[in-house]
């Protein structure tokens, strides 16, 4: 195994690695790499073309001139792996077909137990390739599609083509272009009209090769009157070299449909995490983004909802936790394009040590969006004197009847709260963690129980040795 594939995982929970040698590993950002990816996946010609064009777009588009410093990333682009194929045959339908080594990895991640509980289906991504995939039989009977994005393209090409990259075209931003060129892995979900999926669909992702950029692509279509909750947990081992994650998530919420997308990401602190998430909601529909961001070196992520149809609604709830050496630039966008649309943004950030958490958000109300309502609440909690936070709330309101509220607070971890909790027997760290958990409660109470528990555990780890 090359030196740069060695991990330094001791203090990172998911920081174990497997001794599996990948079948193909493509380094460097070139048309050659892109062609090979497309070839390895056996894609139709139009997709190869799409990828190559997107790569050109990527090179043409400027680097963002705002937000976190990406100059280090710019220098390193050719050092990343853009495609890694693990030694598995392809999507496995049952647990038995999954290779032993990979199974062990999953066992350490607790996936088999999780599956036995509430999962409707498990889409687990191992590096670029989905090796294990299963949808519960009743969902299949209802016509629900929950497969890897590759399988989506192969098996449902027409449906796929109708929606793919229509909401986030490669020209949208530099990282959407990059993802469009080298995308690999992710989920394809379709819920037919009127079908309500009661249990959440979950996908587990794991990046497992050093220097490897993960470029997952997820496409979710919720047809008229349908309902779905999609959950993604992300966690990756530590690497000696920096890593890149650039995802694109597109969600189509049709008339009167109801959808939620929940993700808690806990990246190693040398990861660039640059993700484009966008949903469009038709008349009477609803979409929630629930977004938890821990770890990473840099995160830039602004889940967006376009409220396209009359009465469409959306909520964007997010958490960011920035520690020393980390800059998390996160937020949300609400684009009101129709009458009676309403939206709510709740953003909670925590900065610890010299960490920096920025809120960057946009509320846009177009001239025809009469009676649009939007409420923005962003709260920052600073743990240490040197912790940093900033807020960039953009508003473009072109309709007089719109009702827009904005509230921003910055607070510090208060000594009197810590002392009060300590006098009840909680240690200083426990007290601080409890205060942070309380601060996040308006968002975490929306999480499924196992996720809330896991998040609280992560917060406790993050808060260890924090005060004093």
């Amino acid at each position: 195994m090359p030196e740069d594939l060695k991990h330094i995982a001791d203090d990172y929970r998911w920081g174990f690695r497997d001794e599996i040698e990948p079948e193909i590993a493509l380094k460097g950002l070139t048309p050659e790499t892109v062609k090979k990816i497309s070839e390895a996946k056996g894609e139709p010609a139009w997709m190869t073309e799409f990828r190559l064009k997107a790569l050109e777009t990527f090179f043409k588009l400027p680097w963002p001139k705002w937000g976190p410093d990406l100059s280090e990333l710019e220098k390193k682009l050719d050092e990343f792996y853009y495609y890694v194929k693990p030694p598995a045959k392809g999507p496995a339908e049952s647990w038995d077909e999954v290779p032993e080594e990979i199974k062990k990895t999953y066992e350490r991640l607790g996936i088999p137990e999780a599956e036995q509980k509430v999962l409707a289906g498990v889409g687990a991504q191992y590096d670029s390739e989905v090796v294990y995939h299963k949808v519960k039989e009743e969902l299949e009977r209802q016509g629900v599609i929950f497969v890897s994005i590759e399988e989506g393209l192969k098996e449902y090409e027409e449906l796929f083509k109708k929606y793919f990259a229509k909401l986030v075209p490669p020209t949208d931003n530099k990282f959407a272009a990059l993802n469009s060129a080298v995308w690999s892995g992710g989920s394809f979900v379709y819920v037919p009209p009127g079908v309500e999926v009661e249990v959440p669909l979950q996908a587990y992702f794991r990046v497992n090769t050093a220097g490897f950029g993960q470029f997952e692509r997820t496409l979710i279509i919720v047809d008229e009157g349908a309902k779905v909750h999609y959950i993604e947990g992300c966690t990756a081992p530590l690497y000696t070299t920096e890593a890149l994650h650039t995802g694109v998530i597109e969600i189509y919420v049709h008339k009167n449909a109801h959808s939620r997308y929940t993700t808690i990401q806990n990246w190693p602190t040398n990861m660039y995490n640059l993700v484009t998430q966008r949903a469009v909601v038709e008349e009477g529909g609803y979409h929630m983004w629930l977004d938890g961001n821990l770890g990473s070196k840099v995160t830039m992520k602004y889940p967006s909802t376009i409220l396209k149809g009359r009465g469409a609604r959306s909520e964007v709830l997010s958490i960011a936790f920035a520690k020393t050496g980390q800059h998390l630039d996160t937020g949300a966008k609400l684009i009101h394009q129709a009458e009676d649309t309403s939206g709510r943004i709740v953003s909670k950030s925590i900065s610890k040590g010299e960490g920096r958490a920025s809120y960057r958000g946009l509320v846009k109300v177009s001239p025809r969006a009469d009676r649009a309502k939007a409420n923005v609440e962003c709260d920052a909690l600073l743990i240490d004197p040197e912790s940093k936070t900033d807020t960039y709330p953009y508003m473009e309101i072109e309709n007089e009847t719109a009702q827009i509220g904005h509230e921003a607070t910055v607070s510090r971890l208060a000594d009197d709260q810590i002392f009060y909790l300590e006098t009840r027997g909680l240690s200083e760290d426990e007290a601080a963690a409890l205060i942070v958990r309380g601060f996040l409660e308006p968002v975490t109470k929306e999480l499924p129980l196992e996720f809330a528990v896991e998040l609280n555990r992560l917060i406790e780890l993050e808060m260890e040795g924090s005060v004093g």
């Binding site: 709260q417 300590e422 006098t423 009840r424 909680l426 240690s427 200083e428 309380g438 996040l440």
Partner: protein, 250 residues
């Protein structure tokens, strides 16, 4: 000495200002003592320093809990040894549910996760004793509580955690007579050979319901007089001036 909370010649300052000037006080297990005195005498400071508030500087003296010197211990270490302070101004902790918080605190108090059945039994008993509604358990800790509710919540914690030594700092202030009776009922239910309380109050009123074994009077950072329950009545009638004169004359 075991089975007592003992303050020995305690001198305390805050940002260079000396607040406590040689406090001596003994609270034996099984007794309830009242601590009275005019505003600014240093009563709250004493309570907080016993609980381990890091904002105050102990210049001299010792605090002994069951014979062990706890002067250098952190507040949580003291709490785990069975010390409890009901705050004069309880602190709001948004987003933290009362039940959740109590479970964490009880876990620390017992040194292990309390069996769910025991935890709920304690909660239920305490809530009934306080004439309260179980809905309080899902509210956020002191957030949006009225002054009276905050005080009641301190007693709820006292009843669930069952400390050995409790300091109640003006738990009566701001309470109407019914709430006062409820709070007193809570404290009285704790009385017994394994419990002691130092009840800080301005008013004789509370002491009609929580009858103390001993009354201490504090002035200008010192305990200047100690007596029986009749001392509280005398202070109620005559105020503090005569005592001031007595102390000055002595």
């Amino acid at each position: 000495m075991a089975n007592r909370l003992e303050i020995q010649d305690l001198w305390v300052s805050h940002e260079g200002k000396t607040i406590l000037k040689g406090v001596n006080l003994v609270l034996p297990l099984g007794e309830v003592h009242a601590l009275m005195g005019p505003n600014g005498a240093g009563k709250s400071t004493l309570g907080k320093v016993i609980a381990g508030d890091p904002n105050y500087q102990v210049e001299k003296g010792r605090i002994l809990l069951d014979g062990e010197d706890i002067t250098e211990l952190t507040p949580d270490e003291r709490a785990r040894k069975g010390l409890f302070l009901a705050f004069q101004y309880p602190v709001e902790v948004p987003g933290v549910q009362v039940a959740n918080f109590l479970r964490l605190a009880l876990k620390e108090r017992l040194g292990q996760e309390p069996p769910i059945a025991e935890f709920y039994a304690r909660l239920k008993e305490a809530i009934e004793l306080l004439d309260w509604d179980e809905s309080v358990l899902s509210r956020y800790l002191n957030e949006g509580f009225s002054g009276g509710e905050k005080k009641k919540n301190e007693i709820l914690q006292l009843l669930v955690l069952r400390p050995r030594y409790a300091i109640l700092d003006e738990t009566d202030s701001g309470l109407d007579i019914d709430a006062l009776k409820v709070v007193a009922r809570g404290v009285n239910s704790m009385r017994g050979p394994e419990f002691a309380a130092l009840v800080i109050t301005h008013y004789q009123r509370l002491l009609n319901y929580i009858v103390p074994d001993v009354v201490h009077v504090m002035m200008d950072g010192r305990v200047v007089k100690t007596g029986g329950p009749e001392l509280a009545l005398e202070l109620e009638k005559r105020g503090y001036d005569w005592l001031k004169a007595e102390v000055a004359g002595a």
